[in-house]
């Protein structure tokens, strides 16, 4: 089927996965309300499973998108395999977040159906973000996602850290939305359109326009806030640390995937004509992020905070892929994003597992002897950590190799070497957790240890760990799919991905 967006009805088809998920989120809300009436009590498990089912149905609708084509690339919504790939990553991230929150919310006394509905709405926002080819839609998607997340971060409102994180995230997030909106206004002012496909042909004439360049710069700042690139990361550690851990997992994976996809659509595809202008800025941001985040992560005493900084560092690696400016770069980006989502969500899942009573034990010392006490989860955590470090035998290695390869082929030898040196730093803090888990004697008082990660969560973590290993041993298929998915980006003439070897 081919869509030309001549009639508005075409948009209904093009947005089918998002529409399905939005309706499903409302359904989840309804079911929860009708079950509980006006009694104050925890939601039934069925709400969580219903939300998961919604993600599965959406995934099916998302797969169906592959069968339709667009007549031209002028629509507000992109219908291409790049979007489909990103959507799948977002859906996996959401599913993992739901699976690890089963049981966890009960323990913390925050199991309310709104949690799942908000999570699904945030997911809709992420999916739209990866599809937006128009700056207005981009802004709408970003806000849909962010507003739901502000609430989710502060969902445990009796916990001061959760509230603190939410407030910080909200203030800085709305600030960055302001940047983004102002950038859009300036771009619109100089290009007379917010549609990226309309802006592309104008780029040669706009190259000299200060208004346009400032607008693009503000857009870059706004998006850099959302992907948490240094120095726009200051909200990240507190929001990640304070948020309920499943929300942290979602923010570190799905949000980042979606915002990065928007990054690629706006800058790599849309503003490819002014590559020389933005690549300089982005290179410095990438260097700062890789080294800065890794160095700060070294000093963290809390595993959750350490993982927060680690996710910032990974944003730096992903920027190197964006900067590679060739077809491998975009494919490497998708592949890495997939591995990154599995291993990061997995690592946050394990954070839930190490607990006492209803509280997570986040301090590094609390992990002493964890590997021997929980052999399965310890092994799974080690796999995630080694993969985050980019060690062979894990998908993280292939992902990093892919980024390095694209970077070398683009001639960015300095960036490649920096990435490697930054990884050396990261070895130290990832390894430290493994050291503590296996080599420090367990504390004497073992009483009251609980594993907040329930059966479904443990299963999900194990499957993720196996997937991370499989992405090393048999990556061929996923590599193929990633490569074919970026081929659709070539259809826009003059994009820099088309200029690759």
């Amino acid at each position: 089927m081919t869509l030309d967006f001549a009639s508005q009805a075409d948009y209904l088809l093009a947005l089918l996965p998002e529409i399905v998920l939005s309706l499903w989120a409302m359904l989840v809300l309804m079911v929860d309300v009708f079950q509980k009436g006006n009694r104050v009590e925890a939601s039934r498990p069925v709400v969580a499973w219903l939300s998961l089912a919604g993600l599965v149905v959406t995934a099916a609708a998302n797969g169906w998108l592959l069968t339709i084509e667009e007549a031209a690339v002028t629509g507000m919504v992109a219908v291409d395999s790049f979007r489909v790939f990103v959507n799948f990553i977002v859906l996996i991230a959401a599913a993992l977040a739901i699976l690890i929150s089963i049981g966890y919310l009960d323990r913390r006394g925050i199991n309310r159906g709104e949690f799942y509905a908000l999570l699904l709405f945030a997911t809709v926002g992420m999916m739209l973000l990866g599809a937006a080819r128009d700056l207005i839609l981009l802004f709408l998607a970003l806000e849909l996602m962010s507003v739901a997340l502000y609430v989710l971060v502060g969902f445990d409102r009796r916990d001061p850290r959760s509230s603190e994180g939410a407030l910080k995230y909200f203030l800085l997030g709305s600030f960055s939305s302001g940047f983004l909106l102002y950038g859009i206004a300036l771009v619109f002012g100089s290009a007379r359109s917010t549609n990226l496909s309309a802006i592309v042909p104008l780029l040669p004439s706009l190259q000299e326009s200060p208004m346009f360049l400032i607008g693009a710069g503000l857009l870059l700042v706004g998006l850099a806030f959302k992907v948490a690139v240094m120095p726009f990361h200051v909200w990240t550690p507190d929001a990640y640390d304070g948020a309920p851990t499943p929300v942290t997992a979602l923010m570190a994976t799905g949000v980042k995937a979606a915002a990065f996809a928007a990054f690629i659509r706006v800058f790599a595809v849309g503003f490819a004509g002014i590559y020389n202008e933005w690549s300089v800025v982005l290179s410095w941001l990438a260097l700062l992020t890789m080294f800065g985040a890794n160095l700060i992560a070294l000093t963290q005493g809390s595993v959750k905070r350490m993982l927060a900084y680690s996710s910032i560092a990974h944003a730096g690696y992903l920027l190197v892929a964006v900067l590679a400016a060739n077809a491998y770069g975009a494919a490497a980006f998708l592949f890495y994003l997939l591995v990154y989502t599995l291993m990061t969500a997995g690592a946050f899942g394990i954070v839930i597992a190490n607990s006492r009573g209803a509280n997570e034990l986040n301090k590094l010392d609390d992990y002493a002897g964890f590997g021997w006490r929980e052999p399965l989860l310890g092994a799974v955590f080690s796999i995630f950590l080694l993969s985050l470090a980019g060690f062979p035998l894990t998908g993280g290695f292939i992902g990093k190799l892919y980024i390095l390869r694209s970077s070398l082929e683009a001639g960015n030898v300095e960036l490649a070497v920096s990435l490697v040196l930054a990884s050396v730093i990261s070895y130290f803090y990832y390894l430290r957790v493994v050291v503590v888990m296996y080599m420090r004697p367990a504390p004497a008082e073992e009483a009251n240890r609980t594993v907040l990660l329930t059966g479904p969560g443990q299963l999900a973590m194990s499957v993720s760990a196996v997937a991370v290993l499989a992405l090393f041993f048999v990556p061929g298929w996923v590599l193929d799919v990633a490569q074919r998915s970026v081929a659709s980006l070539f259809t826009v003439p003059g994009t820099f991905f088309g200029l690759g070897p």
């Binding site: 060690f391 062979p392 190799l401 070398l408 130290f428 390894l431 080599m439 061929g476």
Partner: protein, 521 residues
């Protein structure tokens, strides 16, 4: 005999330990050491005939295989064996059952994981020596770090965590730069031919400018030099050796360090012959090797801890290997190879003996002993033999190897050979007092009177090492014969490029370039 003509023998040797590791993990803890022992014995029995089935005449790789693994990146499962890797494979297979015997009563907790790690480590090491795909090689090279890290960190001594982390970070940091080097070769090959490949053979035929060679050689050489270890990158080794359990020290000294020298011979030299044979490089490595020999000998002489002393002697011995390699002639490189084997049996023997002593007395401190010859004579006999082998007494492998290295060095740098020869005297200077203060002198400590002498299991594991040390010292010809063609080919490659290369010009090795005429522009 088809098994020994195909790649299956190599595949078996690489993966049998891994299967053994899984079995050891699954079965009850009491069975773990038996599983490991049987795996080791089978490994050794399968590996031994390679010595005879290996064809010494052909210089080319034998038992080769190339099966697609990640074909869209040109990554293949490529293995092969030549005269350089053959002996490393045999050495690894020999040490595995001995290590299991050496840990028999030493390891008392978490036996399953211990033996699984030991076996997984063997897979990694074996893989490094036979991999002919640079990607595969890198994977094995890194993969072996994890089990070694756990062996030191979980079953090690008091400062085990410090030692384990230091070991891991040193080696991992070095090898990441090598990874960039490998990827650079990969992208150069792709730019020239339009095909993706990580094959060692393909990279050999890649023309590289002398500038590229210098950088790439540096990236590879740092990774290998850390592993060897070459002074001043050696500081991780004494820490790791002292803290590691006996089996860990044995495999570390026996084969892990050889991965560094092997890396020089297999990769750094033939891939970048221009940079490797440049006068500055040769002089730099010879001087570093020389400093390693003299300086660590002096440091070893003042160590109060016997295990630390032996650890430093490793650095000194491998300094000789570095000298031999960078002499870039047949005697030098053959000497280095024999040294790798001789050191690979004599130093593990010392570590085994010290481990046995530790099991009895819980000490490595030299001053805790004295006069042990009276209470445990068989142990004393073995220790004296191992010490003499380590010094390089004529009749042992150490003598043959150091002699060859010195001849090779003398032909290029007589003065360095002259100074290095004094290292042999230094070896006696640190080793003999240690032996004297532990097994001779008077038996001062009453506790040392009552310790039992070596048991049958311990003697059984030492006897093969004694036999090989003597064989290497008395009749090394069969070994030298098998190495010669491969060494000859390596030297030819380096020599040719030494005359061809001029600054800025592409350097192509003569042997491999014939088929690639079309791609050079």
């Amino acid at each position: 005999m088809d098994f020994y003509r195909s790649h299956w023998v190599l595949t078996f040797l690489v993966f049998a330990p891994l299967i053994g590791a899984v079995v050891a993990l699954v079965l009850p803890a009491a069975r773990a050491r038996w599983v490991a022992l049987w795996t080791g014995v089978i490994e050794l029995l399968v590996a031994t005939p390679l010595f005879w089935t290996f064809e010494p005449v052909g210089a080319a790789m034998q038992n080769e295989v190339a099966l697609p693994w990640i074909p869209n990146w040109g990554i293949y499962y490529r293995l092969g064996l030549d005269g350089i890797s053959l002996f490393m494979v045999l050495l690894t297979a020999l040490l595995l059952p001995l290590m299991v015997l050496g840990s028999w009563t030493y390891i008392k907790d978490r036996e399953r994981v211990f033996y699984a790690m030991l076996l997984a480590l063997t897979t990694g090491v074996m893989g490094v020596f036979v991999a002919l795909d640079m990607f595969l090689f890198y994977v094995f090279w890194e993969m072996m770090l994890i089990p070694m890290y756990f062996l030191i960190g979980v079953w090690g001594g008091k400062d085990r965590i410090y030692a384990a982390v230091k070991f891991f970070l040193y080696t991992a940091a070095g090898s990441l730069l090598m990874l960039v080097g490998i990827l650079y070769l990969f992208s150069r090959y792709q730019a020239l031919t339009g095909e993706s490949s990580f094959a060692y053979g393909d990279f050999l035929s890649l023309p590289l400018t002398s500038g590229e060679q210098a950088w790439l050689f540096a990236a590879f050489a740092i990774a290998f030099a850390i592993k060897v270890p070459v002074f001043p990158l050696h500081t991780w080794l004494p820490a790791a050796h002292v803290q590691a359990p006996t089996a860990g020290s044995v495999i570390l000294a026996g084969v892990l360090l050889k991965m560094g020298t092997y890396g020089f011979l297999r990769f750094a030299l033939p891939l970048f012959p221009g940079a490797a044979s440049a006068d500055t490089t040769v002089l730099l490595f010879m001087v570093l090797g020389l400093i390693g020999i003299i300086y660590t000998a002096m440091v070893a002489a003042v160590q109060p801890n016997a295990k630390r002393l032996v650890a430093y002697t490793s650095v000194a011995h491998l300094g000789f290997a570095v000298l031999g390699i960078f002499a870039l002639n047949v005697q030098g490189i053959q000497g280095a190879l024999i040294l790798m084997i001789a050191h690979g049996v004599s130093t593990p023997m010392l570590f085994f003996l010290l481990g046995m002593l530790y099991e009895r007395t819980h000490s490595y401190e030299i001053e805790d002993f004295g006069g042990l010859a009276a209470s445990i004579p068989i142990f004393a006999l073995m220790l004296v033999f191992a010490a003499l082998a380590s010094i390089g007494l004529p009749g042992t492998g150490g003598f043959v190897s150091e002699f060859l290295v010195l001849i090779g060095t003398f032909r290029v740098q007589p003065w360095i050979a002259f100074i290095a020869a004094s290292g042999v005297i230094f070896a006696a200077f640190y080793m003999l007092p240690m032996v004297q203060r532990t097994v001779f002198n008077s038996l001062t400590r009453p506790a040392n009177r009552a310790i039992p002498d070596l048991c049958g299991r311990e003697i059984a594991l030492l006897v093969p090492l004694v036999a090989i040390i003597l064989w290497l010292g008395i009749y090394p010809r069969p070994i030298l014969e098998r190495m010669e063609p491969s060494v000859g080919r390596l030297i030819e490659r380096v020599e040719t490029s030494r005359f061809v290369s001029t600054p800025g010009e592409a350097v192509v090795a003569s042997s491999a370039s014939s088929s690639d005429e079309g791609i050079r522009e």
